[in-house]
Amino acid sequence: MAEEATHFGYMGKILHIRLDRLDYEVIPTEKYKQWGGGHGMGSALFWDYCEDKTIQDGRDPKNVCIVAASPFSGTPTPSAGGRCEVVGVGVGLQPIGWFTRSNFGGRFSSMMKYAGWDAVMVSGKAPYPVWVDVRNDAVKIHKAKPLWGKSTKEAQEMIIGFVGKEGNNWGWDRMPSDRGVEYTTKKPAVLCIGPAGENQMAQAALIHESSNGAGQGGFGAVWGSKNLKAISFIGTQAVKIADPAALVEARFATKELYAADPEKPDAAFWGPMNSPAKPVMSIALPTDKARVSACHGCINGCRGIYNLGYGNQNHCNVTSFYAHHAQRWAKGDRIEASKITLQAGSICNELGLNTYPLKHGLPWLWYLHKKGILGKGKQIHTDIDFSKMGSVEFAKAFLHALAYGEDIGKELAYYGFVPTAIKWGREEDWKSGRLKFTYWGMPEHGYDPRAELEWGYESLVADRDMNSHCINWIFWHVNVATLRGIRPRIDAGTLAKLVTDKMKPWVSSDNALNYATENMYSDDVMDLARWHLFYTRYWKNSGLLCDFRWADLFNSKHPELQGATASEEAGEHIFWNAITGENLSFNDGIRRGQRIYHLDNAIWTLQGRRRDMLKFADYIYDRPFDKGHFPFYMWPVKNEKGEWIYRDVMHRSHNRKKMEEWKTRFYTKEKLDPKTGWPTEETLKAYDLGFAEAELRAHKKLGGVS
């Protein structure tokens, strides 16, 4: 029993695939539990197993890529059971391929755990294309010749068929097990690359089923460079829960106290669990023959399954990057535009392409085409007919070029939009914000750092667009109410107190939510950004709580408007402890997030990060934020009399000098060398990272005393 108790929430093993040797080793999870799971576990594994952390391109064979689950994976924790984290050195970031992260949903992490594994790590480069076939403890590395060149859909179908035929009978597959003969009717969960990954395009994603994609970071290119087509897991085990009754109790508390009641719709609900299951799309529902679909164990259900033969599970940006162009092509017919958009999304999924760079990249190309700069025989030659932009035909041609590196896709998809703009002599488009790639060569997510401060600060001190909406929900609730002429459900002062109370002791004052221009660079706002950075690093990136659900900082269903976050009924740590048997406090988790951040920063330091690299694109400093003619961006601020109000925070820009001062104060607060941003002896001691000292010192990257 004692041995089993140590594995509550964990399966106890990590699978290390050594591609250059075409074999594998089993690593005990025990050492890595201190990092939680997901990102933290991945960063620690990277540190231990990547022998050269100075590499600057994820395509380097020395790169190590980790796909990690968490104790929540495969359990009925609300909106957490199916998320999965990917880490490693990425491709396509600026100015180098940073150690970075991505994340996807579905049922891959849960099936990985049911097969007995907490994470899978791949190192080296296979001598020829391979795929990895894991059935419980049995691990085989197969030649992938028949799969290479196939779409993600075809590859997954072939693997599922292969695994089925290898078993006893399809539908009842005999599984290798040390507990005697076992059978399963489940399908394997497959994570794979498409042609974009095989061709090592920076825009290449890892795809699981349909539209569950790890897009940011170019991990598809990483796998392609390693000759790795796919990893498949199927298992018959279960995740041991330390206190099942506590888990069930917390689920009921979630329903009773925090989740919207589908029987009593409340259009003005404030909080993330505010609606019945519904596909999260940026387009009209294309058919009335649809149902919702969800990741493993999720109670939200944010994806759709349709009778169309395409578009299944497409959501969020996959349903928006082409929507505007499709609407123009369909002359305003929203249903037709929706069908075109879903088809374009499905093409991306099948080719294994990340849609995010296209959100701002496609309008830029449209502009160049309309200005007569891009086109057949033009200054920038292309055989792709941009006059058909918005059609399925254009989507097929353009996306094919991106995936196979043909035509302009050779530059755009392999190097990324920013390097291509520079190469084409269009650097000014990036500097002016016409090409809206805000940080690290990555596109803006929709929330501009001149208004949404925490989003910008956290992205700047990390490695990519943050994409963590915990604080951002405030924008939505306040702005939608204001646009509709409804009095905001929670007044600004109450909201500031509710939110910042959850952040104690990391923030000392409700002034942390005061996004007034004169308070942009304050220590209070910095503390809020630090809290959110570390919260996200642990509870969302390592615990793998879903971004659509967590954090729950305020909630209009609760009698005192309290959100579930940090609560003793259904807080993050309540679920964690019920599953793992630990006695972790909510703030213990955030401290772990801080430690993980500093380990990541040690890796970035070895890769060559310098303080001067932490900067926004020029337009963030040089132009006021107006998002075209966007009406307003309401946010809690304190007015001149010190009263809390909601006020428009557009029409301002960042100040270079004040940002530099901010960086100095951030580094100092985090015990980093303010001159370089590098870890110091004090940093390593404060965050229990002594194991990193020798390597940092050997590379002369240990910072001075802060």
Partner: protein, 119 residues
Amino acid sequence: MTEHINPDDARRLLREVDPDDILVAARMHYPSGIHDEWIATLEELMWFLQPASDRDIPGVSIEGMASWVEDAVGDKTLAEAIRACENEHENFVDACEAAYYKTEARVSYLQKQAQRSMA
């Protein structure tokens, strides 16, 4: 908006503006995000403003939109009609819906006039 527009003027008002003069607006799809739109014609403005679900709100300032219609497109009449929507309605969403109907009527009329010239 009752004044007569000759076919040439109708075609001019319906044209695609120069890419440097497009109206950059946004749609707010709750909760999937804010998505920019690049509006180049009056017809595209009409599609953009068309009321959709209660989770889909146009993100554009009424005055910014009216200024674009007046300065980039050159339709002062429609611009003034759009400006009036802001005063006639208590909230932004209703004003946008009213602006949609004004724009729809205008586009429909202009298209009719433009086709006449081609017949």
